[in-house]
């Protein structure tokens, strides 16, 4: 309602256009939310703390304290009065009616509970079945992965065993050193302007040509 009135206010209409009630007054319903920062024009404005004379302040404090005490007392009085009033109803018919209503509510609630129990148990059973299935699948998958890994490892061992006779050991190390010294390998090379590759540091271009794709 206030929102509508505010819109009308924006249209320069006023509340009288909406309602014939002359006591109706438009109100400014919306304030700046707390999280919006201070307006830039008000940023450096320091609000003055009102200086109230001590006598006046004391008197105001006394009046407010009295007001709060009395209001609290009255509020509690009403609470106690009407709560006990509701509890101590003397109308027998009303009491019977309330009891019957409560019984009906309990019956209906029990009925609903039975229905909900059925669906709940079915759902839980289905869930458990699904979980068991998933768990079995997981076990099979794990077994398959383990078998694959074992197979890979065995394959690696087989391959290594096959080439084991070429390994350099303490028995044939002298032989291997001799062989390495006698077969010197030179990885240096040079390239001419056409991109031909000439292996070796000291070899001349005429001896060997290897075309390099560019």
């Amino acid at each position: 309602m206030l929102r509508v009135l505010n819109c009308l206010k924006g249209l320069q209409l006023g509340a009288e256009a909406l309602s014939p009630n002359p006591t109706l007054q438009t109100v400014r319903w919306r304030r700046k939310p707390r999280w919006i920062p201070k307006a830039r024009s008000k940023l450096f404005k320091i609000p003055e703390i009102p200086k109230i004379p001590k006598e006046e302040n004391d008197e105001l404090a006394r009046l407010f304290n009295n007001y709060r005490t009395q209001m609290k007392s009255i509020r509690r009085h009403f609470t106690y009065k009407y709560c006990t009033h509701m509890q101590k109803t003397e109308n027998l018919n009303q009491k019977l009616e309330e009891e019957a209503d409560l019984r009906r509510c309990i019956e209906l609630n029990d009925k609903w509970n039975v229905e909900v129990k059925k669906t709940r148990e079915a759902r839980i059973a289905a869930d458990i079945e699904k979980e068991v299935e998933l768990a079995e699948d997981r076990v099979l998958e794990r077994q398959r992965i383990n078998a694959e890994k074992l197979e890979e490892a065995e394959k690696l061992v087989r391959e290594q065993k096959a080439v084991a006779h070429t390994f350099i050991t303490s028995e044939n190390i002298d032989e291997a050193i001799d062989k390495a010294i006698s077969n010197e390998v030179d990885y240096n090379f040079s390239i001419d302007l056409e991109g031909n590759k000439y292996m070796g540091r000291t070899k001349s271009p005429d001896e060997e040509k290897i075309a390099v794709k560019q």
Partner: protein, 188 residues
């Protein structure tokens, strides 16, 4: 260039506890500090430092994030000494503490016995006029005998500053003013 302060003014007057205690021998154990905000009461309020535990500087220290300190004090509030030690930590950053000079400590400790007199307050309250009329009509309708209606007054629980009297009844109205000069030409 002079400082230009921006923002609301504060009622606080003094330093933070860290500022005071960090400059004292033995972190000021045995010294007395006061809070300026408690000077509003006629009875004396002060704290005697018993134990000090340092706390780290905040990660982003600044005027809005001051260093705290955990201090155990013997607190005297409005002339009444608290039976247990009180730990100050969450309020220790407030720039509202003042150190009492050593020569004035004796006088402060003497003030400790000066506490406010225990007030006697009424247990019941008379009803406001309209409520009283309604209550009376309800009584009439039920055919009960007329009794002046009264309700129990709600006070703060566990407060030893007052006693409750069964006989007294709080009259409804403005009550007795503390400054009669304000009501010079008014009939109460």
């Amino acid at each position: 260039m002079p400082y230009k302060y921006i923002g609301r003014k504060t009622d606080f007057r003094g330093k933070t506890l860290w500022e005071i205690l960090g400059n004292l021998k033995n972190f000021g154990v045995g010294r007395i500090v006061t809070r300026s905000i408690q000077e509003r009461y006629p009875e004396p309020s002060f704290m005697k430092i018993v134990k000090v535990e340092a706390l780290p500087n905040p990660a982003e220290a600044g005027p809005d994030n001051l260093r705290k300190v955990r201090v155990f004090v013997e607190k005297t509030f409005r002339g009444v000494k608290q039976p247990k030690l009180i730990a100050l930590e969450s309020t220790s950053y407030k720039a509202d503490y003042q150190l009492v000079p050593k020569r004035e400590e004796e006088a402060y400790l003497k003030l400790q016995s000066v506490s406010a007199a225990v007030r006697v307050l009424p247990k019941y309250m008379a009803l406001p006029p309209l409520m009283r009329e309604v209550e009376m009509q309800e009584m009439n309708a039920k055919g009960k005998e007329f009794v002046e209606p009264k309700i129990e007054v709600v006070y703060k629980k566990n407060n030893s500053n007052y006693k409750i009297s069964e006989e007294m009844i709080l009259a409804y109205g403005l009550g007795k003013p503390v400054t009669p000069s304000l009501y010079k030409d008014v009939e109460l």
